[in-house]
């Protein structure tokens, strides 16, 4: 039976200190690698006889404007259906040069997921066969899910517990 420990051990064996930030939020093994490594890691997870993470559940991006030089995170969710275990793999990239290698060679499913990621966050997937917007209009010249385009804040923070006589 494959466990998070074994996966972690395998990854450390293969990539030594290049895979970092291991964690298990809510039971899912999460780790990080440099963005140049993303295909190597994905290939290893896919090909290794023991690991066999051969189902791509999801790709999405997250924007952290405060982290200089690593503002955009691309998050891969992978699933090994035989052993029924999932991992979450992240690469971070500079928002000025958001180029990440595409996973379309490995997973056909990555095609639209990566286009969606590009559409909303502007992550450019190098080698993608059809790198253009998917849900938004093609004339759009910005990436709407980035944090510099805030919506009106509906959650008010101008009142605190003190006002209600507590704390």
């Amino acid at each position: 039976m494959l466990t998070n420990e074994i996966v972690k051990q395998k990854l450390v064996e293969k990539f030594a200190e290049q895979v970092t930030n291991f964690g298990e939020p809510y039971g899912m093994l999460t780790f990080e690698a440099p963005k140049e490594m993303n295909l190597k890691v994905l290939n290893f997870l896919y090909d290794d006889e023991r690991l066999k993470f051969r189902f791509l559940t999801d790709i999405c991006a997250v924007h952290y404007p405060d982290q200089k030089g690593r503002e955009l995170a691309v998050v891969y969710h992978l699933h090994n259906m035989q052993d029924n275990i999932r991992v979450r793999f992240k690469v971070f990239t500079d928002i000025e040069k958001p180029d990440v290698y595409t996973a379309t060679g490995l997973f056909s499913a990555a095609n639209w997921m990566e286009r969606e990621t590009y559409d909303f966050y502007g992550v450019k997937f190098t080698g993608h066969p059809n790198m253009k917007r998917i849900l938004n209009v093609e004339e759009m010249n910005y990436f709407p899910l980035r944090k510099e385009y805030p919506l009106e804040d509906q959650a008010r923070i101008d009142k605190d517990d003190e006002m209600f006589g507590r704390e």
């Binding site: 189902f55 979450r88 056909s108 499913a109 997921m113 849900l135 509906q154």
Partner: protein, 407 residues
């Protein structure tokens, strides 16, 4: 039927292909999405899918909404089975918050979710029939979808965009009418489903229209990220309800129907069998619900004062509940910091919610894994070289829901 059959005389017109815009508002697409088909006579040479016509930026909107305000957004993903989306969202929140849900709530949820699955598959399967030219089945089963909607109505007051349930449970206990309607459904529906099945399952015309069309191998389906009935039709027994049981699905006895060829006929059969399995689950769940007696039979939500609205009579008479009511409604509760992925078996497959919280009052990032969006990219591969009329049936048997695709 290529050049060898049709010999063009010397000097006649050149053979050309036709471009056909199927959609975005075409009666056969059953939703707002477009296909640009390149046709050689009636054969599909290539297809280009365009999506995004009803994109509503839910992921962006969700970043400014508190947890319970996001539930109505999830309604509008797969609008053929909104309760499944609602429940998936509630469970994601509960996972983040670490809430413990009482068994009775789990079972009530299972009832609602399986009813939603039936209504979802019912629509899909009968629409496949409509696209093959058999309208009767569609009309016949519609009154039972109506009955399912009436049950929703008794539970939450709404029919289509249900916003059913709350974080921690339900907004109110199921009333007697809801249970009576459920009993009526359990009593009458098997006969109706049997009759519906008889109209199609061994119907020669239907079989010839659907068998061998729109087929996909298990390997390709997995590579394309297929989940749900479409993956199972290709022969992979992956079901989130079994692989990662949520809402006490481990307490129920049911099987996962799988197909072999992954074609339109197998997809139809898998959905049909799943309806029978859903019925089994509902029966078991209803039985389990009835076993709760006395005070236990009144439990319909978890004890989560920070997220579950206090009862109205207390809100109007006592200070503390009123404050909590206000705080919850205004979204003044900070979430714990965390990163959670939760998925449920929705009508079309694995519906995943990836929620990142930075400890604020709204999600830092929320991403929906929409099964429809992911498997629609395989459509070109499925229909290449087939007849246009088969492409239409393939589209409806994939159960493409524009709301889910575009988010």
């Amino acid at each position: 039927m290529t050049e060898q059959h049709i010999k063009l005389p010397e000097g006649s017109i050149e053979k050309t292909t036709t471009t056909l815009n199927l959609g975005p508002t075409h009666p056969a697409t059953h939703g707002v999405f477009q296909n640009i088909l390149e046709l050689d006579g009636e054969r599909v040479v290539s297809a280009e899918q365009t999506v995004g016509y009803i994109h509503r930026a839910f992921e962006k909107i969700a970043e400014r909404r508190t947890l319970y305000q996001i539930t109505p957004l999830t309604d509008r993903l797969n609008y053929c089975s909104p309760p499944l989306n609602n429940m998936g969202w509630h469970m994601t929140c509960e996972k983040l918050l670490g809430l413990k849900i009482p068994k009775r709530v789990d079972y009530l949820r299972v009832i609602i979710m399986e009813l939603a699955r039936i209504s979802d598959h019912l629509i899909c399967n009968s629409i496949v029939g409509v696209d093959a030219g058999a309208y009767t089945g569609f009309l016949y089963v519609m009154q039972y979808r109506e009955l399912i909607y009436e049950i929703y109505e008794e539970v939450c007051g709404a029919r289509l965009t249900t916003n059913i349930g709350r974080i921690g449970g339900f907004e109110r206990n199921f009333n007697d009418i809801a249970f009576q309607k459920l009993e009526k459904f359990l009593k009458e529906y098997p006969g109706v489903l049997k009759e519906f099945e008889n109209l199609f399952q061994r119907n020669r015309i239907f079989m010839e229209r659907t068998m061998g069309t729109g087929a996909i191998s298990a390997e390709r389906a997995l590579n394309y990220g297929f989940t749900g009935p479409n993956l199972r039709a290709a022969g992979v027994d992956y079901d989130v309800r079994v692989h990662a049981p949520y809402s006490s699905y481990e307490d129920f006895d049911f099987s996962i129907p799988v197909g072999t060829t992954g074609d339109n006929y197998d997809r139809w059969l898998v959905r049909n069998q799943e309806m029978w399995q859903s019925l089994r689950i509902i029966e078991q769940a209803y039985q389990k619900v009835q076993e709760f007696k006395g005070a236990e039979a009144e439990v319909y939500h978890a004890d989560a004062p920070e997220y579950y609205l206090p009862p109205k009579e207390l809100v109007y008479t006592r200070m503390e509940p009123m404050i909590w009511h206000f705080k919850i409604i205004m979204g003044e509760i900070n979430m714990p910091v965390g990163e959670v992925y939760h998925s449920v078996e929705a009508g079309n497959g694995e519906l995943g919610f990836y929620l990142i919280s930075d400890g604020g009052r709204t999600p830092y990032r929320l991403h929906f894994r929409r099964p429809c969006f992911i498997y629609y990219q395989a459509y070109e591969e499925l229909i290449k070289g087939s007849m246009l009329s088969d492409a239409i049936i393939t589209m409806s048997s994939l159960n493409l829901i524009a709301g889910e695709m575009d988010a």
